[in-house]
């Protein structure tokens, strides 16, 4: 695939490669500067593997001061910079370009402080999402945002993309769970924003930084909220004859004043793929599956599940499977959490991430099916039903350039559909390069220009992750 354009690498920078590397060398430890072809190759893409570009060099600083020195050097030299967490972006947020230095935070992987009384943890940006929960789980705490890649993805990357997860219906996404950051700005200045207290003073710059996709600076440390886990959590699995009935059940549950901690939807192709992989005991004779999880004491969960099951029965549920043990709970979630991996075993896929108003669900599923069939492709749908965040997986063969192009076109049509019904291009993966050229569908020129003028406050030269988020045409520098 080559549909998404990259800026033409600047010849003057490529010509100065040796000089730039020599300039970076004294700023970081010897093993933190990666220049050989073999060692640079793992950094040429992220989880959007259809696109790859070899960066000029990769730097893996160990301290905030090193990040500051490298950024200050790059800005003085006019060299583009691509920040990188763990490289798990599905939107191509960390894909470099030939004339850019990748600055990776993977060596900054220490948990600096855990404060249970104030319910916060201070961590370096390279700490993985799951490691935060791992560090506090013995005391019964957890870090709430739980993207599917949580074993690998970093807190720095989560902040860059404002990552979500299956449990954000109750606990919110990254921006609701980060209280402070140490931000290195392009000129090398180090800014502390927020801290262990709520609501930083002045304009909400923290809220702007979260989800800014590495365009405004590099976050090296973060203070995140840690929450006390509920006494227990238990999912129930429902199979519905139609997706309309599943959607109506979701609406009715919310209408009854119940906010489950998670409500996950899978369509028939997704059920088949996940069941074949995970043997989770998913029903094969239904069109739609819902996993709904509740939390609390045993009695509380019994009571809540009874209400939820009763509502599902009013909406034509065909299969009801309540977890009776930790093993059954794990099996129910294993199917859903392995959806992407299981799909990857049977075909290449593009994972979309649009959000729709949940009331539009039946219409969007029907229309999506038509779009996909129009291209002669297949799609499997998994998504967060409570918040309307869709993840259609469009199956294709990446060795077939024609089919690959069709898959990309179908994905674009689906995202346009999401915007048309009142939703958005991306709910939790970010724009990256993947959705950059669709930004004009969701925003008019004035909206984008205002965003770009804010961007220019931090980076008037378009050096920070410059190929991302905003269409290459019509950019505003100040």
């Amino acid at each position: 695939m080559s549909a998404i354009a990259f800026p033409i690498p600047r010849a003057d920078i490529l010509a100065r490669r040796d000089e730039i590397i020599a300039g970076l060398a004294p700023l970081v430890a010897a093993d933190a500067l990666i220049t050989s072809d073999d060692e640079r190759r793992p950094y040429e893409t992220d989880a959007l593997t259809a696109y790859r570009r070899m960066p000029l060099a990769v730097v893996l600083p160990s301290t905030t001061q090193e990040v500051a020195a490298v950024l200050s050097y790059c800005s003085a030299q006019g060299v583009p910079v691509v920040p990188r967490g763990a490289g798990t972006s599905l939107a191509g947020g960390a894909i470099p370009q030939e004339d850019a230095i990748v600055i990776g935070v993977s060596k900054m992987n220490r948990i600096l402080e855990i404060d249970y009384a104030n319910r916060v943890a201070k961590v370096q940006a390279g700490v993985t999402n799951l490691a935060v929960t791992g560090a506090v789980s013995a005391e019964g705490f957890f870090y709430a945002p739980d993207p599917s890649s949580q074993l690998a993805c970093s807190i720095g990357g989560n902040i860059g993309m404002n990552s979500g997860g299956a449990h954000c219906l109750k606990y919110g996404v990254t921006t609701n769970n980060v209280l402070g950051v140490t931000l290195v700005m392009l000129d090398g200045s180090i800014v502390e924003i927020g801290g262990a207290h709520l609501d930083a003073p002045g304009l909400d710059v923290l809220g702007l930084i979260v989800g800014s996709e590495g365009q405004l600076g590099i976050v090296t440390e973060a203070t995140v909220r840690i929450l006390r886990s509920a006494e227990g959590a238990r999912p129930v699995l429902f199979g519905f004859p139609t997706s309309e009935e599943a959607g109506a059940a979701v609406a009715a549950i919310i209408g009854a004043g119940i906010i489950p901690v998670a409500m996950e939807f899978m369509d028939k192709p997704a059920i088949e793929i996940c069941e074949a992989f995970a043997h989770a005991g998913y029903p094969m004779d239904v069109e739609a599956l819902l996993i709904i999880e509740v939390e609390g004491s045993d009695e509380e969960m019994d009571a809540q599940l009874a209400r939820i099951v009763a509502i599902a029965r009013q909406h034509g549920v065909k299969t009801v499977k309540e977890s009776k043990s930790a093993m059954e709970t794990a099996a129910i979630w294993k199917g859903r959490k392995s959806a992407f991996g299981a799909t990857g075993r049977i075909a290449d896929y593009i994972c979309m991430d649009g959000t729709i108003p949940t009331g539009q669900l039946p219409f969007v599923l029907r229309r999506m099916d038509e779009i996909i069939k129009g291209y002669g492709l297949r799609v499997a749908n998994v998504f967060h039903a409570g918040d309307g965040n869709l993840h259609p997986l469009i199956l294709y063969n990446c060795n077939d350039p024609v089919e690959a192009q069709k898959a990309e076109d179908a994905g674009n049509d689906i995202l346009k559909l999401c915007v048309e019904v009142g939703g958005c291009l991306t709910g939790e993966h970010g724009v990256g390069i993947e959705k950059r050229d669709l930004m004009n569908v969701q925003f008019n020129p004035e909206d984008l220009q205002q965003q770009m003028r804010v961007r220019a406050v931090f980076d008037g030269q378009w050096l920070m992750n410059p190929a991302k988020v905003f269409p290459l045409e019509g950019r505003v520098a100040a």
Partner: protein, 395 residues
Amino acid sequence: MTIHTPTTEAQACAVVASVVATGIPLSIRGGGTRSGLGRPIQVVSTLSSAGLTGITLYEPAEMVIGARAGTPLALVQETLAERGQMLPFEPMDHRPLLGTSGEPTIGAVAAGNVSGPRRINAGAARDSLIGIRLINGRGEAIKSGGRVMKNVTGLDLVKLVAGSHGTLGFLTEVTFRVLPKPERIVTLAWNGLADEAAVALLSTALGSPFEPMAAAHLPAGIGTDHARTLLRLENFSASIDYRGKALAELFSRHGQPELIEGEASATLWSDIRDAGFFAGTQEAVWRLSLAPGNGPRATAAIAKALPQARWFYDWGGGLVWLAVSADGDAGAAAIRAAIRPLGGHATLVRAPDAVRAAVPVFEPLAEPLLRVTAGIKQSFDPAGIFEPGRMYAGI
């Protein structure tokens, strides 16, 4: 004094465009109940949202409500209540504290990031605000966010505008995520605890699986003559019984808590939300945001410098409402010196104009952040016409 009251977004754009041409700054006004917040500024023209009213979107099953900026907050809350829902963040009513009258608007709740006791658990207004329409200082109508709660498309200008106090533009429409109202609300009250012990109790409770939705401590002399340490549970009725017992047991060394329900509970928490204990006095009132455990440390240090100071705690100890003499700098130097080693910040919420003009109302920003703040203001409002100087002098 000119008051512009556009009734459409297009009219609002035209007003701003004409004002930009004259360079005369504008005050932005909703219901006027919070006009005493921030630094006092001199303006001769006002842009009012009073002509932009009405609920534009309400989908209970999607838990989302949208309204034009001038819509009375009360109308939004009544509309939600009819379907058993509510705004998640319990916005403060500034009228008792500031002695103002009028109808608070939903736009001002967004512009001021106005939250209340539920903030500790359910987030601030900014956490529930999912979409805005705004006229920037070029007279352009722009949008950010939308009507879906999960949206990471582009830079999050919604957050920047939430809490910008009108300095970045004129909001015409706002969209919030909402939540179901709980079936039952019960407040547990323990009497007679000193500040440190009270905040420790609140901290343990907030770190328990029993999910208090609000956690406050009222020292002796605030409301009554004895100290009260309060946890509010919101849930299904059976869960309230269970969780209330569990918490009582957890803190059995402090004795059995009193259970407060209904009107008494609601009144208590609206006094906490609105800092109603300081209504009608001549004192200056500060709002301190700290790591919860540092609340009592900050007040102890402040009390040494300002012996007449009175205070109470919300947000598990992390929000300190502080009343001090309004003389001189209204305690600014002493208060900020006390919290500097602890981290956090102090905002002067109520003081005479002369004091708010002389003392930084919002916590002074470190240089790089001040530069960024000025740059963001310039990026929205190049001519500096919206509420110039409301948050920081010269910005």
